[in-house]
């Protein structure tokens, strides 16, 4: 087969192969020697953030009920003939799916009969079957899923933090929606979402393991839904204009917990990055967070020794084209004191400056972590999809990391943190 392109990373000793089908579907493959598991993910660039768009074949945009992307994910497992779980079970494989802010992914892992599993995956994701009755039945199940999250303090503290940072951006919406919002979902709207976002040109199919790529491409090609046109149309997604300022400085909720949980969010207004630039920004900020708040810092040591925080403490930067933020989270009897200490500390470092030795150590650590992650097929598959939808490749990561300089970190530090772009979300005990 001639039209296969490759991307390679010498340090990891890994490579990825790409073949693009006529209908625009990108099919990727990373070979893994000696692993017994084989893993495939079929994902669409569509998540809970895409709740306003122009449906395929229409002229005007619509706003859909919150939680519909996730609802659609549940419903795709239903076929005219029954539930698809059963067919995967017959092959002894494990099938699952997940929806996040930006993507919906369907996946299976198996040790045997890979190509039969692949055929099933490709066909079920391409054959929606929604009826009034089966849509209604799912509402009860998803309501229980929502309530399970309602009792989950780390989930609540995180979403409250997002709502504190964002006024309008849909990242503030719960991925599964609310019991109320999902009650408004009907089969017509589900089909509209499906037809718009599940076109192969908006999707990626990724495989990892000990697999013959050409044979897999053949299986995928033969099982593509011929009813879908090969015309590749741009999807118009509408995001509200998000102000630069945060929405709320402080959000508090009470749940049955033993010790308060907190998330401190720093909203990033410098957005719009894509591809390698986006990854560079992610890496730079995460190195910076580790230099400032990691377990190897004086800051962590002091806070821990004073008993203000415990070992449930961490920080992470998340970035997408339309939104970005850092979150510092943990448990403390006095979350407001944690915030004060964080802000004081940032002020102090702004005067003192950062230390280049710290930078070198953290860069080493990030290199090692990336190498270690490549022992996990699940990690490779799910990260690969995410990077692809962000118009870059997971295999570019190490080169980008290598290019990050201490000056990049200093520059990022000067721009990212200030007391006016931060939100404190707290879950207190009842």
């Amino acid at each position: 087969m001639n039209n296969i392109s490759t991307i390679k990373n010498e340090i990891l000793k890994e490579e990825a192969f790409l073949h693009v089908l006529e209908n625009g579907l990108k099919v990727y493959f990373v070979p893994k020697k000696g692993f017994t598991k084989k893993y495939a993910v079929f994902a669409t660039n569509y998540g809970s953030n895409d709740n306003e768009f122009v449906p395929l074949g229409e002229d005007n945009s619509i706003v859909v009920p919150e939680g519909i992307a996730h609802f659609l994910e549940h419903k795709l497992f239903e076929e005219k003939e029954g539930n698809i779980f059963n067919e995967f079970s017959e092959l002894g494989s494990y099938v699952n799916a997940y929806t996040n802010f930006n993507q919906t992914a369907y996946l299976f892992s198996c040790t045997d009969k890979f190509y039969e599993n692949l055929k099933l995956l490709v066909s079920f994701v391409q054959s929606p079957y929604f009826t009034d009755e089966n849509v209604d039945k799912e509402k009860g199940i998803i309501a229980q899923e929502i309530k399970m999250y309602d009792d989950n303090p780390s989930w609540k503290v995180y979403f409250n933090c997002l709502r504190g940072m964002y006024h309008k951006h849909p990242v503030r919406i719960d991925i599964a929606g609310t019991v109320e919002s999902i009650s408004n979902i009907d089969k017509e709207t589900l089909y509209k979402c499906y037809n718009t976002f599940y076109h192969p040109s908006n999707m990626v199919l990724f495989m990892v393991g000990d697999i013959n790529f050409e044979k897999a491409i053949d299986v995928i090609n033969k099982n593509m839904n011929r009813g879908i046109s090969n015309d590749i149309k741009n999807i118009e997604r509408i995001y509200p204009n998000e102000p630069k300022e945060i929405n709320n400085k402080y959000i508090e909720e009470k749940l049955s917990v033993s010790i308060p949980l907190f998330n401190i969010g720093f909203k990033d207004y410098d957005v719009g990055y894509d591809g390698d630039e986006l990854i560079k920004k992610q890496i730079t900020t995460n190195v910076l967070l580790d230099i400032l708040f990691g377990t190897g810092t004086e800051f962590y040591k002091n806070m821990y020794e004073k008993g203000i925080i415990n070992n449930n403490f961490g920080s992470q930067f998340t970035a997408n084209k339309t939104y970005a933020h850092s979150i510092i989270g943990g448990e403390s009897d006095d979350p407001k004191e944690v915030l004060n200490k964080v802000l004081e500390y940032i002020k102090k470092i702004k005067k003192q400056g950062l230390n280049e030795e710290d930078f070198k150590r953290i860069k080493n650590k990030m290199l090692g972590h990336h190498v270690m992650n490549f022992d996990s097929l699940d990690y490779i598959a799910n990260s690969f999809i995410k990077y692809t939808f962000n118009n870059t490749s997971l295999l570019n990561y190490l080169n980008i990391l290598e290019d990050v300089t201490f000056d990049d970190i200093i520059h990022r530090f000067d721009n990212h943190f200030n007391k006016d772009n931060c939100t404190l979300s707290v879950i207190k005990s009842k």
């Binding site: 192969f17 002894g92 309530k147 049955s256 033993s258 990691g294 377990t295 190897g296 190498v371 490549f374």
Partner: protein
């Protein structure tokens, strides 16, 4: 463009090879050799009987050790050393497997050929040795501040078990079920014990624990096994071992009286847990048949519980059934509306009855067998799973993956029916709103 053909892969290569060697009384070294991973992992498991008077001290010891060593006085120094070692991960955990209390110390990091750094295995072992062998000791005591801080942290940790309602319900059900057996003991210990623990008696406990435990050392690496053996023996000397303390759990309980425990908390979703005694020890021929039956009942999205409770009645988002090997228990868990308690309970009991009467198809058996075999095979794809599997193996029936797969394949329908007729309901636990 197409370099692909050169990379055509052959299946079934690089099987992992495990060797086991006794290096002292109650000290064993297990080396799992293979080339497929980019990382290497070294785990030390210290295994003691699960004992009410020692459980809190056992839990505190690794927390103190992680705070500082002779060479690395603070956890910050340890962390910085790990960052230099390419983010190698040093972790400790406290667990119970049956009536055994297990303290694990692990270091895992990239292999030297992926980060182009020599001696990284030895450097990792140096840190692990510091952690286990060379704690920061002042006047025959652990450092005072570390002990008082970690006592406070452990108190928080024990109180925080209410935060995860799913896990909390499982733990509570087992506590109620095994009230008069060591298995009820909470793995992280008890707040009321903390008062009497100080830096002196805890240090003494550490020395004791070191001598009395059974030790299993697991190494997953690509380095040649004799080389590993020599390094481990050289780095980690063991002497003066005390005699064997571990016992096989008592798993048969006579005259079971079904009881119901209802607890209230301010929550949005009810958590229902049914605790069964399987009455089948893992040494029994029916044990594997029970596992297959358990899978048909509540092992996955094609199971009887999932189909009848979730898909048909929309009563739950999650419902599953799990076997507890060492103690021969089976727990069914579901998240439900508070007022659906009766109906969920009835459907679950009906499904158990159906299993006992053999109301399931050959197809269900085949599917469950396949799923179980797939997950057994997948153990070999992850260094941590390999190490955990190996530990369980040497602590129980010594069956390796191929033998387990073999016995799964041999299970017949009548064995499953027989095994299901042995199980009996012990405790129904329900966590509801106030």
């Amino acid at each position: 463009m197409c370099r692909y053909s050169k990379l055509e892969l052959i299946g079934g290569i690089n099987l992992l090879k495990t060797t086991r060697e006794k290096i002292n009384d109650e000290v064993y070294l297990n080396i799992i050799n293979g080339d497929k991973f980019k990382t290497e992992l070294i785990s030390f498991y210290f295994i003691m009987p699960l004992n009410r008077s020692e459980v809190t001290k056992n839990t505190l010891v690794p927390l103190i050790l992680k705070r500082g060593t002779k060479q690395y006085n603070t956890s910050m120094d340890i962390e910085r050393r790990l960052e230099e070692l390419y983010g190698s991960d040093l972790s400790v955990s406290v667990n119970k497997k049956g009536e055994k209390h297990i303290i694990r110390f692990t270091i895992e990091g990239p292999r030297e050929d992926f980060v182009l750094s020599n001696d990284i295995l030895k450097n990792k072992l140096d840190v692990l040795k510091e952690l286990i062998y060379n704690p920061l000791v002042i006047d025959n005591k652990f450092k005072e501040e570390y002990v008082s801080q970690e006592k406070r942290n452990l108190k928080d940790r024990i109180s925080s078990r209410i935060n995860d309602k799913k896990q909390y319900s499982t733990t509570r059900c087992i506590e109620e079920m095994c009230k008069n057996e060591p298995y009820h003991i909470y793995k992280y210990g008890y707040i009321e014990d903390l008062e009497n623990i100080n830096s002196q008696n805890l240090y003494k406990h550490y020395l004791d624990f070191f001598k009395k435990s059974r030790v299993e050392i697991n190494v997953v690496s690509n380095i040649e096994k004799n080389e590993i053996k020599n390094i481990i023996k050289d780095y980690f000397p063991f002497d003066e071992r005390e005699s064997k303390l571990l016992k096989r759990e008592n798993v048969i309980k006579k005259d079971i009286e079904e009881k119901t425990v209802i607890e209230e908390m301010d929550i949005k979703q009810g958590k229902l847990t049914l605790g069964y005694r399987t009455n089948i020890p893992y040494e029994d021929d029916l044990y594997t048949a029970f596992l297959v039956g358990n899978h048909i009942l509540g092992g996955g999205p094609d199971s009887k519980l999932f189909i009848n409770v979730r898909e048909k009645e929309s009563l739950a988002y999650y419902i599953y059934s799990r076997g507890y090997k060492y103690k021969s228990l089976m727990l069914i868990s579901a998240g439900i509306e508070f007022d659906k308690y009766e109906s969920a309970l009835n459907i679950i009991k009906e499904q158990i009855e159906a299993m006992k009467k053999g109301e399931f198809e050959e197809k269900n058996i085949e599917q469950s067998k396949k799923a179980m075999i797939t997950s057994m095979k997948a153990v070999e794809d992850d260094t941590y799973s390999i190490s955990e599997f190996n530990l369980s193996k040497v602590l129980t029936d010594n069956q390796d993956i191929d033998e387990i797969i073999d016995s799964i394949n041999k299970v017949k329908k009548e064995d499953i029916i027989n095994s299901m007729n042995k199980i009996s309901l012990d405790t129904v636990y329900f966590l509801k709103n106030q």
